[in-house]
């Protein structure tokens, strides 16, 4: 392989895109690709606190550039995972805690569990999800937008329906509009920073690792609407309503992911939260989780999108079900799953990614990390179809261990 120093950024860019596309297509690429979605690590590494990164977008870009230059991933996330604190404050976002807002300066933001849709609201959601979100979910989620609870029902605007527009004159509604405008401007500042970073990274020869983010239908209902306890109880208490809502959520899933269509590297990350081993029985998984996710994945694949399903915990007992998708079209990221078993079942169907234990990256030595990576390349990387990555998103880790993962993969992961 020619020294990467001899190649132009454009050549390196194309080489990296091809490497990933070959791995996905289950062909043998020039070598095992290595990259991942890292949360806190790039900032810890660069000495920028997460609080700074979420408030000072230039500092976030600087940290991500340092990570890019020093680790040379095949694909890059950049600062997208350092969410913008200013609009979160302006909106009064209730379902997150973040540095400076309930958490310490270098603590990763965390979700606040709750029932943001009550059990008796399924019918309302199923009838008109947009109206439900606007008048119920949004006011409950954002203190600054609570006036939208009175937003006139748009589906009844025809004939005399427009006469309900009087609601806009209320002080509470005007305040919510003011907050929305202010937050909108602040969010655009952040997006401008993301766009700036992405074009800078691409100019250096690094493809952007995401074209869309998505959530499985079950998690769309479970994470931010019903909450974990809520939806797990609903499986037994109101299965029919849940199934109806999952039909709606499947359409929302396809809509979220479709933004990736047409991108040069159309990776759509699907964050799996409650489908893994311990959450539900196999029967429940086959009824409530997998059929809807599968249908959504097929729709995205149909549009030429590459879903990266981020299975976030042990899925060994799900392998026989989730193998049922067209071959060479998707990436399954795995964590805490026996990688040999995963390869044996999924190998001919999907590109496997991940599984380097985060505990090893924090508490182990570079030699421990190399030994794991060697095993992963030998087992999962045999004849292609594997991408090296951490088991779950990387926060705290020893930089020398992370370097060992990248450097070892670049050396040992070459297909000869």
């Amino acid at each position: 392989m020619a020294n990467s120093m001899d190649k132009s950024p454009q050549e390196l860019y194309q080489e990296r895109v091809q490497r990933i596309k070959d791995a996905v297509a289950l062909k043998t690429p020039d070598r095992v690709p290595v990259f991942g979605p890292y949360q806190l690590f790039p900032y810890l590494y660069a000495g920028v606190t997460l609080r700074e990164a979420m408030n000072d977008y230039a500092a976030a870009r600087r940290a991500c550039h340092k990570f890019l230059d020093d680790f040379q991933p095949d694909c890059d996330f950049g600062p997208i995972l350092a969410y913008p604190a200013k609009p979160m404050e302006t909106l009064g976002l209730k379902w997150f805690k973040w540095p400076g807002h309930g958490l310490g300066d270098n603590t990763i933001y965390q979700y606040v569990e709750g029932e943001y849709m009550t059990a008796d609201e399924y019918d309302e959601f199923i009838f008109d999800p947009s109206d439900f979100m606007l008048t119920k979910w949004v006011p409950r989620s954002f203190e600054g937008l609570k006036g939208f609870a009175h937003f006139p029902t748009q589906r009844r605007m025809m004939w005399s329906g427009w006469m309900g527009l009087g609601a806009f004159a209320s002080g509470e509604m005007q305040e919510s509009f003011r907050v929305a405008v202010e937050a909108g401007k602040q969010i655009n500042e952040w997006w401008a920073s993301i766009a700036q970073y992405n074009s800078e990274a691409m100019a250096k020869g690094f493809p952007i690792a995401y074209a869309a983010f998505d959530w499985p239908p079950f998690d769309i209902i479970g994470d931010t609407l019903r909450g974990t306890r809520g939806i797990l109880g609903d499986i037994r208490r109101r299965p029919d309503k849940l199934l109806q809502a999952l039909e709606i959520a499947t359409r929302i899933f396809i809509e979220y992911g479709s933004g990736a269509a047409g991108a040069e590297l159309p990776l759509c990350w699907v964050w799996v939260h409650k489908g893994t081993r311990n959450f539900m029985s196999d029967e429940q998984f086959k009824t409530f989780y997998w059929p809807f996710l599968r249908r959504g994945l097929l729709a995205l694949i149909e549009k030429g999108i590459i879903p990266v399903v981020y299975w976030e915990a042990d899925i060994e007992n799900r392998l026989e079900h989730i193998v049922d998708i067209p071959p060479g079209k998707a990436i399954y990221h795995i964590a805490q799953t026996d990688i040999a078993k995963a390869k044996a079942v999924l190998g001919g169907t999907v590109c496997i990614m991940g599984n380097v234990p985060n505990a090893l990256l924090l508490a182990g030595t570079p030699d421990d990390v190399k030994a794991y990576c060697k095993m992963a390349i030998d087992v999962a990387g045999k004849d292609g179809g594997y991408i090296m990555d951490t088991a779950v998103m990387l926060d705290e880790a020893k930089p020398e261990n992370v370097k060992a993962m990248f450097e070892f993969t670049r050396e040992y992961g070459v297909y000869r």
Partner: protein
Amino acid sequence: MSTKQQLIDAIADMREDEALQLAQQLLEAGTAPMEILEACRDAMAIVGQRYEQGEYFLPELVIAGDMLTAIGERIKPLLQAQAVSTAKKGKVVIGTVQGDIHDIGKDIVAFMLDVSGYEVIDLGVDVPASAFVDKLQESQAGILALSGFLTLAFDQMKHTVEAVREAGLRDRVKIMIGGAIMDDSVRHYIGADAYGPDATAAVRLANLWTGG
């Protein structure tokens, strides 16, 4: 079949509405509140077994927990008149370590320990090391269960174990850890006594340590 047995079956088989009705019927028929609670405990033992055998999962534990709470709320006011002292197998102090606010796994472990006969002192989430130490001293509990979902929990747990040692409690307190990305290598790093992958393991460890 006695109404009490019907209650046990209804809870164990997840017939929630029926279970609440049966508990009410028993109360109205003058059954001693303690007897109803004992029936609940028997039912929870069956739920625990089914969970351990892989027949039940989190949906069933959530519903079982809700049934227990609902029946408990009706019965507890009546219990205060009587001096209730049920023999407990031991005390467990549990919590999610500082900086981490994840509670679902911790709650399930607390629930399973509780229905398995332990007095569970739940300190909640984002718990500093000093709060664990204070509670261990005050309660004289012999078991500490630390939960964490994030990598930051590794160092927080290590710090907590050290604080327990500095307070001179390490010899009499057994420490277990659990949470999404924990494993035995993390346990070693932290210096805890054991790692458990699920709530059943937590109960097994506690039984082992207390001889219960």
